[in-house]
Symmetry: C2
Subunit: 305 residues, 2 copies
């Protein structure tokens, strides 16, 4: 089933547009998780990866009722070396087991034949001898547009083959996104050029829901731009980062939704997954995470219909 | 020692500006390597990763005399799942053991606090309990500028701490690089904006050689742009992809070099590492790879002084 359709169905079934960002920063996860892993495996990347995996699984478990998707940020796994990448792989499997869609925040891009390798591995399959293997098996990925369309097309092709989704960076949530993305070409910012391309190619991955699995990343930290980009890309699913720790509020996110209350999911990472406070927390830290996800869901539901 | 200084010293010692791109495409490496790995490990990602590692190590061994650096393209390792990432890690170690500099072609970028995680992991170190660990320990990375300077600065900071290098994408070698990179803002293409930023920040990573470890990726497939970008960024090391299979020649690469014959390294992947022809090759396929690297070195030496 088409990724956008699966996402829309999950939003309806759970009455939610929440995406939980799995950004397991080693210095912010409960310290007792790392200490316990070190007791078993020593002060090794394997111990760090185990702690990060345990943390991520628990976050997934306690937010699965309120979230439609999780967005693992691969940087926080990659930071731990090969063992971290195994943990990242296992996080995807765990989220699937809990019925969540997985959007891998990889922001990859490269020339066409290399982009194909990324696309195969993350969204699709590879052939080894006579066997077909799905190396990462995620549902959707984020991609960067700096290399132009031949860096994006391989991801779209793989998404077509495997009912996946592709979210291209349009207007990112960070302060310096203005430096390149807002430069004006013939009176129009670069990010609108990217948006126009995505709107034009939305039909390539259109679902029965009327939404396309070719999505766009638009930061909630720029609400005016968000409103305009929603209008420019009415059928592309928007992935909206920047909620919570980066300063974005539910009111800021409101323009992301169409009149049907759909068309976007909002991601929070730090404000939800570290809702328990400092890493010296003990006891049932998952409770605070669950509460934060529930609160986010309710706040967003108030503004979207 | 500063990365640019190490690179300049290697260019002088080996009389070479060759960078060999380690792009181990599973369907292009000698089939007997994969068959042998499958006999030992079954039709698994682990077997594929072993074959790719064996291939990469042999390529490194036979080109180490003629190349100053290798550029592993992480996509072809990442495509194989977690086992592929372990192979990528081991390739870096092998290249170092052969005295080569390693430029990891990762094209990463993200918002500041996430870019830090990539930068720590690839260029720097992480702390696990009381231990300092270097997860990937490469010499330099490629990064994408779409998110602006706060996505680049963490890489520059880590490069400063650990004598690393950072190559930002300026003008990539693929045909559709024109779509975004060539858009004109106030009469000047976007890629020149990026180049101007890199030239301005070159002093941050300046070496005693007069070259900066803050480098730029400029495709050899656009020789006119290359000439202008060389002039705009006189002290930034240029990493020039697109040689060989993508159509670039030594004559096209000539404008990349300063009057001292330095300031750039040229990368070839397919035309060197697959110089033996089809994957059905048997016997000493490494010989053809060595010959291709030697030929490339000589061709480039003729145009750079």
């Amino acid at each position: 089933m088409n990724f956008a359709d699966r996402l829309v169905a999950a939003c309806a079934a759970k009455d939610s547009v929440v995406c939980v960002g799995i950004d397991p920063r080693l210095d912010a996860i409960p310290a007792e998780l790392l200490q316990s892993a070190i007791r078993d495996q020593g002060e090794t990347p394997e111990a760090a990866a185990s702690a990060v995996l345990e943390f991520s699984k628990r976050v997934i478990d306690v937010t699965a009722e309120d979230a439609v998707a999780v967005k693992p940020q691969v940087a926080f796994f990659e930071r731990l070396g090969p063992a971290g990448m195994q943990a990242y792989h296992d996080v995807i499997g765990h989220a699937h087991a809990r019925g969540l869609l997985v959007i891998s925040d990889i922001k990859r891009s490269d020339i066409g034949s290399t982009a194909e390798a990324y696309a195969d591995g993350h969204l699709g399959s590879i052939v080894i001898g006579s066997k077909v293997v799905f190396p990462w098996r995620t549902d959707a990925v984020t991609v960067s547009p700096y290399l132009g369309s031949d860096g994006l097309r391989p991801f779209i092709r793989e998404a077509m083959r495997h009912q996946g989704g592709v979210f291209a960076l349009v207007k990112t949530s960070n302060p310096s996104s203005v430096e390149l993305q807002d430069l004006k070409v013939d009176g129009r910012p670069i990010y609108e050029r990217v948006a126009a391309w995505l709107a034009e190619h939305a039909p390539d991955l259109m679902g029965d829901s009327g939404y396309s699995s070719l999505g766009a990343v638009v930061g909630v930290t720029f609400p005016q731009e968000l409103e305009r980009l929603r209008a420019m890309m009415p059928r592309n699913i928007l992935l909206i980062p920047g909620y919570g720790a980066q300063g974005g509020t539910a009111a800021d996110a409101a323009p992301a939704f169409n009149d049907d209350g759909l068309g976007a999911i909002v991601n929070a990472s730090r404000s939800v997954i570290f809702a328990y406070g400092g890493s010296n927390v003990t006891g049932d830290w998952g409770r605070a995470v669950a509460v934060a996800a529930r609160k986010m869901r309710e706040e967003l539901n108030r503004v979207r219909k």
